[in-house]
Every structure is written in C-alpha cells, then in structure tokens.
C-alpha cells in the first residue's frame, strides 16, 4: 500500500532530518488512520495522545515513534474476559448484521473446540434465510460437530430452548447458536434476539454464557452503530472481526474499543474452518500502520 509506505518513509525522513513533527506530518498520519476506517473522531483522539507523548518524551527517532504508535494503538484494546466454565454446556450466542460471516465463524469456532477435545453442538437458529440451515448442516458435518435443527420457519427461540435440552442430554461441552443476520435498526428483529436470550437464561441459568458480535472488517463507521444496538439488545461480550484476509484494515475496531471498550477475541482470515486466529492488539496495530 502506497500511503502506508509513504508514511513510513515520511516518518523516517522527518526524523532523520531532526526536524519537529509538523502539521503536514500529523495530517498525513490522520489520513492513514481515516483510510483504515478508524474514523475522524477516533483518529483525532489518538493523535492527541501521540502529540502529547512526543512532546513529553521528546521522541525524535522514527523507530521510537513507530513503536509508540503501536503501543498506543494496542493499549486501546481490552482483554477478552475469561468466562468461568459453567457446569454443563457453555452456550454461545452469535449475532450480527447480514452476511458478515456468522455461520462460517461458528464453523471455525466449532472446529477449534473440537480440536481442543470438546464435544460441540451447533444449532440452526437462522430459520429464515434461504438454505441457512443446509449451510450450517454442511459445516457441522465437515467439523464433526453435532447438529441441531427444527427446520425452516421454526421459532428461533424454540430452537434455542430445545438445543439446550439436546446439549444437556447429549453431554455437549459447548453449543454455538447461529442466528439470522439482521440490521440493528430493525426493532422487531432485535426484540427477537432479546427473546432468544431470555429463553436461554430461563432454560439454563447463566446462559448464554457468551454473546459474540461478528463484524465484517470491510465495514466503515456503521459498525459503531451495529455495536451499540446489538450490545443494547443482548449485551455483547466479545467481537469477532472477519474478512481481515482482504485489503481492509478493520480500523473501525479502534473506534469501537475507544467508545465501547469491547474486547475482540478472534479474527477471521478466510473461508475455511481453519482460518481463525486469536486477536492480538499488537499485531493488529502493526498491520494498521506499517
């Protein structure tokens, strides 16, 4: 990427000339951040922190500056909370807008859990979209996870309820509940998620133990609104950022971390079930600015 190369060169050039960080330099850095979808406001916050540190610590070398930039970026991201492993099955609810990668991410998480020797059930809570159930069914087969479905058109809350039953009976360690993609602005569909959550809690105290919000790394500022409204509906515990194998930087999660202090647990790097990595704030920061 040319802009990023230029920035690195510019940091080097500026500092090798032993000149101060000038306005054009900060403008250029802002441009890099905005082009990575960090957003104007969050980029501003970040720049303020950097400017203060540059002044205070009298930073002059480019490597030191880049290191500081990485530190500041990485420090924004909170660690995912570790969930106390519940008695009985752990119930994981997966939510997000249309097409972000919920179903595929469930396949990846199921694969990972299977590899760790856990007994996995995936439940087809998307009873709405054409062939969503078949899609999850195929993934269940490929990952070796057990599969629960009540068929197309079934009430997703009923699927959730009965999936917990199935897991209790089947002795599963973890249940991943897929849900239909929905725009966060659709009140009735968000209420449906609330209901699913309520039903799970009634069926099994403490469930769902984790709510995962799946975000697409190509998304721009709208991801802020997605995070806010899904969090209001079901209290999001973690974010999973998909499609980072493209050229998008996913910088919107910087804004999300700054505004919502929401941890990111995993990133998606492809369409195969192996293409999931734990999120590292440091690696993410490196990729964002280098």
């Amino acid at each position: 990427n040319k802009t990023r190369e230029q920035l690195t060169k510019r940091i080097d050039a500026l500092l090798s000339a032993h000149r101060k960080f000038d306005d054009p330099f900060w403008e250029e850095l802002e441009e890099v951040l905005i082009m990575a979808d960090v957003g104007h406001q969050s980029a501003g916050k970040l720049l303020d922190r950097l400017k203060a540190r540059v002044r205070k610590e009298k930073i002059e070398e480019s490597e030191a500056f880049r290191e500081m930039l990485r530190q500041e970026l990485a420090a924004i991201f909170p660690e995912p909370k570790s969930v106390a492993v519940p008695q009985g099955p752990e119930i994981v609810l997966v939510v997000g807008v249309n097409g972000v990668g919920k179903t595929t991410t469930i396949a990846k998480l199921a694969h990972r859990a299977q590899m760790q020797g856990r007994k996995v059930l995936v439940a087809a809570g998307d009873t709405f979209r054409a062939a969503a159930i078949e899609q999850l069914g195929i993934w269940a087969k490929r990952t070796g996870a057990d599969f629960f479905t009540k068929g197309e058109g079934a009430d997703p809350a009923a699927v959730a309820y009965e999936a917990v039953d199935a897991a209790l009976k089947g002795g599963h360690d973890v249940v991943f509940l897929d849900t239909a993609g929905r725009l966060h602005t659709k009140v009735d569909l968000m209420d449906e998620l609330r209901k699913i959550k309520r039903v799970l809690g009634k069926k099994l105290p403490g469930a769902p133990h984790r709510c995962l919000l799946v975000l697409d790394a190509t998304t721009g500022q709208n991801a802020l609104s997605q995070t806010k409204l899904f969090n209001e509906a079901v209290t999001v515990d973690e974010i999973i950022l998909t499609k980072l194998d493209g050229t998008s930087k996913g910088g919107i999660v910087v804004a999300i971390a700054l505004e919502h202090n929401m941890p990111i647990s995993f990133i998606g790097l492809g369409e195969k079930m192996e293409d999931l990595r734990p999120f590292s704030g440091e690696d993410f920061a490196k990729a964002l600015v280098n």
Binding site: E31, I34, M35, A36, D37, G39, H40, V97, N98, G99, V100, G101, F128, R129, A130, A131, A132, E134, Q135, G137, I138, W139, R142, G181, L183, H184, T185, K186, D216, T218, T219, G220, Q221, N222, A223, S225, K243, D245, G246, T247, S248, K249, I252, E271
Partner: protein
C-alpha cells in the same frame, strides 16, 4: 436511504445559507463541515478531498448568479457536484444484443449477490422477460441450494448446477438450456471472492469471455468503509463492470461507499437493495437522491427560477 448524511449536510447548509455575505473564511468553515459529514458517511478520503477542492475552487471563482445569496450559491455548487458524483438519470438494464441476454453478479463475500439475483429475477419478470437463475457458486456451502430455494419462492426456473461442475461449464450449459426452454435472460450468481484472489478473479474473467454477458453488476454492501474503492477498482479493471448494486441500504448506513464507488469507476448505480425479501429492490435515481441528500427542494426551485 442516505438519511443521516442528508441531516448532516442540511444543517451545514442552513448555517451557510444564513450568511448574508460569504467571505473566504465562512466558505472554508462550511467546507470543513461538508468534509467531515462525507468522511463520517465513509466516503473515501481521496474522493472527499477532490470533492471539497472542486467545490472550493468553484465557490471562490464563481460567476455571481445575481438573484442568489452567496450562501445559496455555495449550496448550489455542492448540489451540482453531488449530482455529478452520483451520476445523472437512472440507467436501466441494457440487455440488447444476443438472446438469451446474460447478467453476471460479482462482488465480495456476503455482499448480497445471491439475494440480488433473485430480486432481479422478479424485476425482470415484471418487465415481461423470462429470467433463468443460474447458480455458479460452487464453493460456498449450500450456495446452490440458496438460489434454488429463492427461485422456488418466486416460481422462476433455475439451472440444476452441482458443486462438482466448473462455473464456466455451468454458464454454457445453462445458456443452451435457456434456449431450449425459451428463457431470455440468464442471471448468473457467482461466488463471493476477494479482489486480490487472483485465481478466483481469473475465473470471473473466464466466465465473461465464454458467456459474453451484457451486464456485469458489482454488488456492494452499503456499510462498506474506505476500502470500497480498492475493491471496486480491481473488479472494474478486470471485468469492465457495467453497473453497481448497493445492498442493505434500508438501515442506518450513510452509504458513502456509493459515492466512492461511482466516483472511482464511473459506473452507474443501477439498483439499491432495501431489505432481505425478494421484493426489496429499488431502481436508483441519482438525480433524485442527490436532491434528497441535500434537502434542496426549496433552494432548487429558487435556482431553477434564477
């Protein structure tokens, strides 16, 4: 559609229009806010920069339209540039030439290609055409099923592809089948792919070469951020797109990707997806949308009189 971008810009304009005399400083001020509104709507940074520069140049060197206040003139310039950015009148599907006509849908993963194929089938049937849905995504689990299910809901025929077939063969066989069945428009649903995936992009080039489609529509998610331009440019470079479909526009997406993609490819936005149902497709009227974004009903009529 574009509501919150519209709100932002309109409040900027209210301020500008309030100025009796408009000096360089207040123009700069106004433009800074226009810039922010566009960036917050995810319009690409470079597109915003060019846009603001053009408006500034014109606003500073403007020929004074006597009957407008300086504030109104700036608003008019922004409007003109916005119409330019979005494109003029609606351009429908161009299906002249060989029968059956072929429409290819391409784009990133999850953007809405399969759903849009079904929506277009309904649109075409309403235009008294006989569409044929062709599933050419042999990779995504149950992608063929998905299109067949939608076809079933619509009562539109769909080609019986299998995941073992090659996408190019699917298209060629589907075309023969369409001729036999007397169907006159093929809607080819391709697998989602990254623009940097050379192998898969080659596959699209091969389908294009073999099938010779009249329309290659780039299906893009309205919530896409800054990278939209890189993706669109790459698809356009390799395939010479004929148009754009913007999906998931019924939410609160500010839709800056639309402005960006149109601006960098020059290709028209032809349709907008406004929901998950097969009937949730709207034809796109750039001129009307530009006016709506800018909330210009009142000032436009003033300008037209001038």
């Amino acid at each position: 559609m574009f509501d919150s971008l519209a709100d932002r810009l309109q409040s900027v304009f209210k301020k500008i229009r309030g100025h009796g005399r408009l000096d360089e400083k207040s123009v700069q001020e106004g433009l800074r806010e226009v810039r922010l509104a566009l960036l917050e709507a995810d319009v690409n940074f470079k597109v915003v920069k060019d846009f603001v520069d053009r408006v500034r140049d014109r606003a500073m060197g403007q020929d004074v339209l006597g009957s407008l206040t300086p504030g109104q003139q700036v608003v008019k310039i922004v409007h003109d540039e916005m119409v330019e950015l979005l494109g003029g009148e609606h351009l429908g599907l161009q299906l002249q030439g060989k029968t059956p006509a072929i429409i290819m849908l391409v784009g990133l993963q999850g953007s809405g290609k399969t759903t849009t194929a079904a929506k277009l089938a309904l649109h075409l049937r309403r235009m008294k055409r006989s569409p044929y849905l062709v599933p050419a995504d042999v990779y995504r689990p149950a992608a063929i099923d998905q299109l067949h299910t939608l076809a079933g809901q619509l009562g539109v025929p769909a080609f019986a592809s299998t995941p073992e077939m090659k996408p190019v063969d699917i298209c060629m066989q589907a075309r023969e089948e369409a001729v036999r069945k007397g169907l006159d428009v093929l809607l080819v649903d391709t697998a989602g792919r990254l623009h940097i995936d050379e192998l898969l992009m080659e596959e699209l080039v091969a389908i294009k070469a073999a099938a010779g489609p009249q329309e290659i529509l780039f299906v893009a998610d309205a919530m896409t951020g800054q990278d939209a331009v890189n993706v669109a440019v790459k698809f356009d470079e390799l395939l010479d797109l004929t148009g754009i479909v913007l999906t998931k526009m019924e939410g609160d997406a500010r839709g800056g990707a639309a402005l960006s993609i149109k601006s960098v490819t020059g290709k028209p936005i032809k349709f907008v997806g406004m929901g998950e149902k097969v009937s949730d497709l709207e034809v796109f009227h750039p001129d009307r949308v530009a006016s709506r974004i800018l909330g210009m009903g009142d000032i436009l009529s003033l300008i037209e009189k001038a």
